[in-house]
Each structure stands twice: as structure tokens, then as C-alpha cells.
Symmetry: D2
Subunit: 202 residues, 4 copies
């Protein structure tokens, strides 16, 4: 059983991206069951999606979980749905800022996550780690990756489950940002580990 787990590179002037920190740590821990293959995506419209699709095609994982940083949130957010739109409030790492553009012009308006999102949230919470189902993955690069992968799986009739989880800032990212919620690396890694286990069996 192969699991593809992705995070993003830093963006918007940040020095780190919590998603990649967490994914890297979980990859090193590699707790099983299943083999975790990690991948760091560029925070660039088009490029991030290309890279994850290439990884899906070469690795042929049974489970694909993308992660991204959601600064300001206090909980692990298991995403329910991805929308067929790229609409950026800030520029990506190549200076692009698409506005209200479809990701796949002939694609459906949205794809549901094919992960057991309610079970995942339940199990993360049972570990004492804050989590919730989120009804919006935004309209930035994270949503594009989630939408694009689900579209690729459907188009290619590839029998893998896929979805996305948003991760709060790490504590060090809140220095200089008064009142900002964070989650410790160990907490987020453990939460993601439990989420993976749930995605494999629930």
C-alpha cells in the first residue's frame, strides 16, 4: 500500500510552510501501515498540479493526501470539496494571480473528497487534537491541487482515494502576528498520522 503525501513550499514571504514541515516529519517517522512517499509542491498555479499528477502517475499510490498551510486556523481542516476555479488574492511564487479562471474548462463545478472525512475528523479528535470538516479549500493553489488530482483520477479511472487537509501555522510562524492560532509540529504530525490510518481503513 503506497500513500502519496504532499505539502507546499513556503509562499507569501514566509520562511517555512507548515504543511511541508508536517509532511516531512511524518514521512521520516513513516509509522505504517503503508509506505508513505512525500513530495513538496511548488506554490505556483499549474506547476504544483503538474508535479503531483506526475507523482501519482509514477508512484501509483492507493491513497493521495495533499496538505497545505491555512494560516490563522486553529484546527486540522479535512476538506470536503474542491471547486473548479482559480481565484488568487495574492500572487503565487511565480508572480501569477489568476482571477476567476476555471482549472479545467470542461470539468465539473466541484469534486467531493473521496476520503472518509467524517471518520478522519472523529479519530483525530479522539487523540485530543482539534480538527473539523472544512467546506472550503479556498480558491488558491491548494484547491487547484485538490481539484486537479480528483479530476485526473476520474478522467483516468484510477482507483485511488484522494483528498486534502489544511494545517494551521506552526507556533514560530505566529511570532509578530499577535493573536494568531497555531498548532505544534508534533500535534499536527500525530493528527495527520491518525488521519492517514483512518483513510486507509474507514
Amino acid at each position: 500500500m503506497k500513500i502519496l503525501l504532499t505539502g507546499f513550499e513556503p509562499f507569501n514571504g514566509e520562511k517555512i510552510n507548515s504543511s511541508w514541515e508536517v509532511v516531512q516529519s511524518l514521512g521520516e517517522k513513516n509509522p505504517g501501515p503503508g509506505e508513505i512517499i512525500v513530495c513538496c509542491l511548488p506554490t505556483v498555479f499549474g506547476e504544483g498540479l503538474k508535479k503531483i499528477i506526475a507523482a501519482v502517475d509514477s508512484i501509483q499510490p492507493q491513497l493521495i493526501i495533499g496538505t497545505g498551510q491555512a494560516g490563522g486556523r486553529s484546527e486540522l481542516c479535512v476538506e470536503r470539496v474542491a471547486l473548479n476555479v482559480a481565484d488568487a488574492e495574492i500572487r503565487d511564487n511565480q508572480g501569477q494571480q489568476p482571477l476567476d479562471e476555471p482549472i479545467r474548462p470542461r470539468g465539473p463545478t466541484a469534486y467531493w473528497s473521496t476520503l472518509p472525512i467524517k471518520s478522519m475528523v472523529k479519530r483525530i479528535r479522539e487523540e485530543g487534537i482539534p480538527a473539523r470538516v472544512s467546506n472550503s479549500a479556498g480558491t488558491y493553489v491548494c484547491n487547484e491541487v485538490m481539484y486537479g488530482v480528483l479530476h485526473h483520477l476520474e478522467a483516468g479511472q484510477i482507483p485511488a482515494r484522494a483528498g486534502f487537509i489544511h494545517i494551521p501555522f506552526l507556533p514560530q510562524q505566529a511570532i509578530g502576528r499577535p493573536g494568531t492560532s497555531t498548532m505544534a509540529l508534533e500535534t499536527a504530525v500525530r493528527g495527520l498520522e491518525v488521519a492517514l490510518q483512518s483513510a486507509l481503513k474507514d
Copy 2:
């Protein structure tokens, strides 16, 4: 060098109190320099203060740091000042709810913390842990303990430094409280450790 470090027992229906969890862990770690003596105070007006004063008199610490839980905050809050008022929005663990009562009828309106609060915040942040100076310790049992200890030290001309730190919820306390900020036990313990070191030398 003896350090008295206090936390509070759970209140308001909670099963744990983050301040006592953190204080207990740091006491067990006992990283030095200095000997940490921990003490759990009842969340009861009058009783909490009595217990910490008795501990001060018997242990004769050079440094006294009270801690309390501040649910909803995202940072370690090093308190600047304690006010001569008890004004409770919720009942304490014995059902008391004082309203606008002075803690010491002949005491001054307020006492400054005698800790190096700015240095403590700076050093905690250098560890990548969110912290700030707080200008209000509230008007509940935490503020009473901070005010009462500072009054006791002044009245008895006891040459010890004293102050108070508020601690966010632990992650497990946010389950069922959507959108609530938390801090992991390890993060808060490390922050408190650094704060103690700063209070000893800055």
C-alpha cells in the same frame, strides 16, 4: 535558589487545567538552574491565595511565578499588573462569586509584576513560542493570587520576585469548541522554562 511555581486546579466544568498540567510537567523535568517546587492551588477565592502565601512562608523561594489558564488566548501571557479587585463572571469551585470587592481593603489599587516581563517575552519568542505582555490578569482567582502575593511580599518586606503567566488551553480542551486557540503541552512547558531562566538572570 528556590523557585515556587503554582498552577490551578480545574474549574468551570473542565477536567483539567492547562496551568497545572504545564507546571507539573516542568516540575518533573526540573531543568535547573534552581530548584522548582510546584504547588496546585484551589480555584477558590481566598483559599488559593492562602495556600500560596503559606507556601511562600514555608519554602522561602527567591522567585515566585503563578500560572493560570486563559482559555481562548493563543499566546503565553506574561502579566504586567495585578488589580485590587475580585469581580467574578462565573462561580469559583466553592460557589463563591465576589462582585467588585477589594482583595485587600487597605491595599493599593494595583501592583506591578516584579519580574522582567519584557525580557521574558523576548526570550520565549526567540524559542519560536508565541508570547506577549498582557496588561490585564483579569479580576478572577488568578489576579487575586498575583495581587495577594505581591502585597504579602511588600508587607513582609520579603526580597523575592513575583509575577504571573497565563497559559492557553491545551489542544484536547478545544475539542467541542470550534475555532479555539490552543498551545501544546511541550510548547508551553518549554516556554515556561525559558521564562523562568529569564526571570532568574535578566
Copy 3:
């Protein structure tokens, strides 16, 4: 030009629903252009949608804007998309609590609002009133009404524009809820008026 404008009845123990208060006020003001017909929907899965569809069929409006209360938000939220799911965290006014049920089993995953959402937000802000595009109308009765109306229009090839706006609490609803954002009735009414004008011409 007929405009159907709906709000919801109070739910979850509230005495009022900000959406209906605002809609009623704007209906009485009736500023033109266009004739505003207002309608108060029951906060009941199935029933709210039935009532608005009946109103659409009998009134035959060219513009349909549903509104709902989004307690805790600080801005008028012009919704981008409605999802084909009913998933309730609290019971509706008839005690129903659907979990992960499709609204229309054969319907698409989502419908885009057919309103000029970016222009609406821009014009509301030009009046000095906080507003934003929202990427999630939730999964409660509001989303059901938005999804169901857009599905009805598409299925019947009815040439009307439709969408949804979420409205913050009114100030009086925050009494007893410390730290909760609100918007004054006059502010929300003016914002909705400008949104309507934008929807008619942009």
C-alpha cells in the same frame, strides 16, 4: 423588473433572524429600481426550499437573492457556490438533522451563483460597508435553498439570476455573546440595497 428577496425565520433559540429583519426593512424601503417582493422562509430542510420555489414559480422574478444569518461573521458575505449536500450540525425548526444527504440525488456537485459577485462586493465596499466573496454557504438550510433554487432554474430553463448573501448578527443578538461581530440593521440594509442594484446592472 421583479426581485424576489428572501430571509429566514429565527432558529436555534434566537428571537430574531438578522436576514429577515434586513430583508423586511429593505422591502419596506423599496428603493427601486425594480419591485422587491420579500418572503420569509421556514428554517426547515425541505420546507424552506419548497416555499422559495413556489414563490419563484408564481412571481416569476428576474432576480432572486436569498439571504441567511451567519452569526459571528463581520461582513456581508456574497456566496460563490452552493453544494449538493445537507449536513446539519444543529437541528432545524422541525427537529430534522440530515447528515451528508444530497439535496438533489441526480444533481451536480455544486452550482455557481449566477450573480456578479465580485461587482456586488466592490460596490458594497464603496459604500464603506464590509463585504467579501464567501466560498462556502455552509451545508445547512441556507445552502439548500441556494442550491435548490439554482437547480430549479436550470432544470426549468428559467432565465433568472440567483444567488445568496449571508448577513452578520444584528447588534442586539450579541448581548450575552462577548466578542461577537455584528452589523447594524441600517448598514446591512444599505449594503443589500447596493448589492441588488449591482445585481441588476453589472
Copy 4:
């Protein structure tokens, strides 16, 4: 019966200051009882305080209420206490940034407001307007004015009541600040009017 009501000029790059907008409007409304005299203070350490003391001495009001803008708060905040410290996180309008300086080197640590703060909050809320007692007026120019006036009244044995109220942003100030709480001008003016009436009779 003369009432001195002050607000502050804009600072920190803002074009308006909600406190002066509200104070000006209430002054123009002049609802009685009592004669309201309004005054706009410079947001400058030392200068703001000088100007309000000059006004107190020349007008000889029986009631003095300072107001200031507290961006981000959602409620009218009736301040309980002023601290003898100036500690600025941002520069004032003359570029000054005092750090941990006493306002009056021989003054007490703090002064209580001499207004009926609990009654004021109660009456504002009865109007359906969010309000609360605040235990910190900060350590910026607002706190300096509150502390300095109370010190002036005590030193001169002047039989006037005095205190301070913090006012949220107006709605237009939240444009470009997503998720920021605001209060409409009319709401804040009405709340302040009721607060004044309470201060005169309770």
C-alpha cells in the same frame, strides 16, 4: 451640568478616528440632560493629556468622559482602571514611542474609573448595543489621558467624575481588513448617549 467629552485625532495612518466621529456626532445631537462640550485631542503623548487638563480647568465640567478608538473590538468598552505607564507599540503622531515610562513618577500604580461602569454597561446593553467592562485601557495615549485626568482631579481635589470608553472601528475602517469587527456610527453614538445618562444619574 457640564459634560466634557473627548475623542482623538486619527493615528497610525488612519483617515478618521472612530472616537472623534462618535463624540462629534453626539455633541451635535446634544440630547441632554447636561451640556456636552466636545474636544478632539492630539494622539501625542503629553500633548493629549495637556489639552484635556486645560479643558477641565477652563470648563470645570462635573463629568469627564474620554473616548478612544480600539480597532478590532466588537463592543463599547467601559474602562475600569488606568495604569501609571506609557508603553507604546507604535509611534504617536509626533513620532514618540515611550517604553515603560511612568506617566506621573510619584503617582500611584493605577486609578479606578470614578464612573458607574457596571450600570453604564447594563444600560447600553438594554438598548441592544454590545458593551462590556474592560480591565485594560492599554498603555498608549488613551490610558495616559485617563490616568492623567484622574490624577489631576485627585491632586486638585476637583469634585468631578471621570472615566474612559473605548470604541470599535466604524464599518468603513474595516474595508481591506477582512474579519474585523465594527460598530455603526449611529449605534456607537446611541450607546455613548446612554452611557452618559447613566454616568449622570447612577
